[in-house]
Amino acid sequence: MCMERSRFPNKVLPYLLLIPAAVSSIIFIIIPAAQSLYQSFFFSHPFTGQMRYVGLKHYQSLFSDPEYLNSVRITFVFSAFVVIVGMGLSLLLSVLLSKRIRGVSYFQLGLLWPYALSPAMAATLWALLTHPSIGPISHFLEFLIGKRMNWITDAFSAQFMLIIASIWKNMGYNIVFFLAGLANIPRDFSEAARIDGAGPLREFFTITFPLLSPVTFFLVVTNILYALFDIFPMVDLLTRGGPGRSTDLLIYKLYRDGFLNFNIGIASAQSVILFVVVSILTLLIFKFGSSRIHYQ
């Protein structure tokens, strides 16, 4: 695009137009975030609200708290499963869905509908499906492996169920973006590969996957954000962090400390740590994403 694009010679209007976005960003996003940072250096009394400066003590105690480290660990494992297994399956499905065959658009719609389903409703659905005594999936698994998975009492079952439900819920979203990416790959490339005698697997790994990397990268980041934050309703409705803190993901721990135990300082420190993680991810998007903007 021409850099010297036409401009409206108006001096005041651009400021007026930016006011809503800028003011709402500052009041509702930037100031509260700064406050989070500030409060993380203070101990505030749960009932009187009195504040006492404690410096980095909250951060130190978090990183020596086995409960918090446990949350970090399971969040990491959880994210890894959501990204690797969830995106892998979604990519496989998207490649199938991008083939130009009759009726494929019905399959597309049939496979991406869980995108519309909220995490809270997905959690409700899975609570029933995997219910230890009346859930059809529990009965089917019992039939397969001869053992009943009870996620109310068994930590491994709870983690397993939460991961499966989260992956299932996010597949629709992944498919939407993978399909868009696949639609952008010129068909001549795969034609050329086929003429040169590359099989479908080789074609996928040498052509499709590398050309898809901007979308894949974008999805890696959004999937990590999903595993960090959007999973909250699943934990809150299904396991409440249990049994025995086995599903106490970082966002749930933050909620427990801030809104159930009123430990504002510790919760703020956790917010700040999450903010650092998100910032790194966002900067990666910008760095990587800048190549997507084309000025011709």
Partner: protein, 288 residues
């Protein structure tokens, strides 16, 4: 060019299709059954009587209680209030976000360099890094100071700034050929006229994609309404579903599943209506 390409390749794939049986269908069907199974089961349960929901092994065939359960879900959960609140919150956030991003993106792309543009750009990028979860406690305190706890304002305002929408629209606006702007100016069209009569219609696909993303996101938001509303008068649908599950008794799964089905309808309709334009707008975003 693009058209010619796709025409050619569809001819080619036609040949492939004729030559052998297509296994893609089999795989797609298997995945479709696996992915759709939970919703299908929800439908079955929504037709069962309360007694049948407790049976073990579970019943896999529908019974005739669908309408009764729907009616119970509707009255028992105060569905009208839940739907109304969810709709007000969702439309408020979605429309507000789109208008704010539209104005912001237009200001940053169509007025040349103006003093402070860089400052605005930085504010926007920083906002992008701060999802509501990392600023949730001070935002709650802010709502408290404003006296907004348990109001629609608290459900809507903290979400109005949208870096995602602004950045997406900025990119799309830059791709509109500047001849449009030139000729509009020669014809004496002002900036706002150009925005609403030329830019908005031209970027309709992106705007509907954005509408879909923001609508589904806002409709499904859970943590913030959970914290900021406490009366049943202000409760949104996602929290209403949670309230249907009793802590200490056998949950009425048939009624709960009916409520889930009702709650899924609005975002599902939006997805069905706009998913094509979402694919297009994403294609736009990710470049070539």
């Amino acid at each position: 060019m693009q058209k010619a390409l796709s025409k050619g390749s569809s001819k080619r794939s036609q040949k492939i299709r004729q030559s052998k049986f297509n296994w893609t269908y089999v795989w797609l069907a298997i995945f479709l059954i696996l992915l759709a199974m939970p919703l299908f089961y929800a439908f079955i349960v929504s037709t069962l009587s309360f007694k049948s929901t407790a049976s073990s092994p579970p019943k896999l065939l529908p019974e005739g209680e669908f309408l009764t359960n729907m009616a119970t879900a509707w009255t028992h959960s105060h569905m009208k209030v839940l739907l109304k609140n969810s709709m007000i919150m969702t439309m408020g956030i979605t429309i507000g976000k789109i208008v704010f991003s539209l104005f912001g993106a237009f200001a940053l792309t169509h007025f040349g360099k103006f003093r402070g543009a860089g400052f605005f750009a930085i504010i926007i990028i920083i906002s992008r890094m701060l999802p509501v979860h990392v600023r949730i406690i001070p935002t709650y305190e802010l709502m408290n100071t404003f006296g907004w706890v348990d109001t629609y304002a608290a459900l809507i305002f903290p979400f109005l700034a949208s870096a995602t929408g602004l950045l997406l629209l900025q990119q799309v606006f830059l791709s509109v050929p500047s001849e449009y702007c030139d000729s509009a100016r020669i014809d004496g069209v002002g900036p706002m006229g150009y925005l609403f009569y030329i830019l908005v219609p031209m970027t309709k696909a992106t705007l509907s994609g954005l509408f879909l993303i923001e609508f589904v996101w806002a409709w499904n938001e859970y943590l913030w309404p959970l914290i900021i509303t406490d009366s049943s008068r202000m409760r949104v649908l996602q929290i209403g579903i949670k309230m249907l599950i009793p802590a200490d008794a056998q949950p009425p799964w048939n009624v709960i599943m009916s409520a889930v089905i009702i709650g899924l309808i609005p975002p599902l309709l939006i997805v069905i209506a706009f998913h094509d334009s979402l694919t297009k707008s994403v294609a736009f975003q990710s470049g070539k």
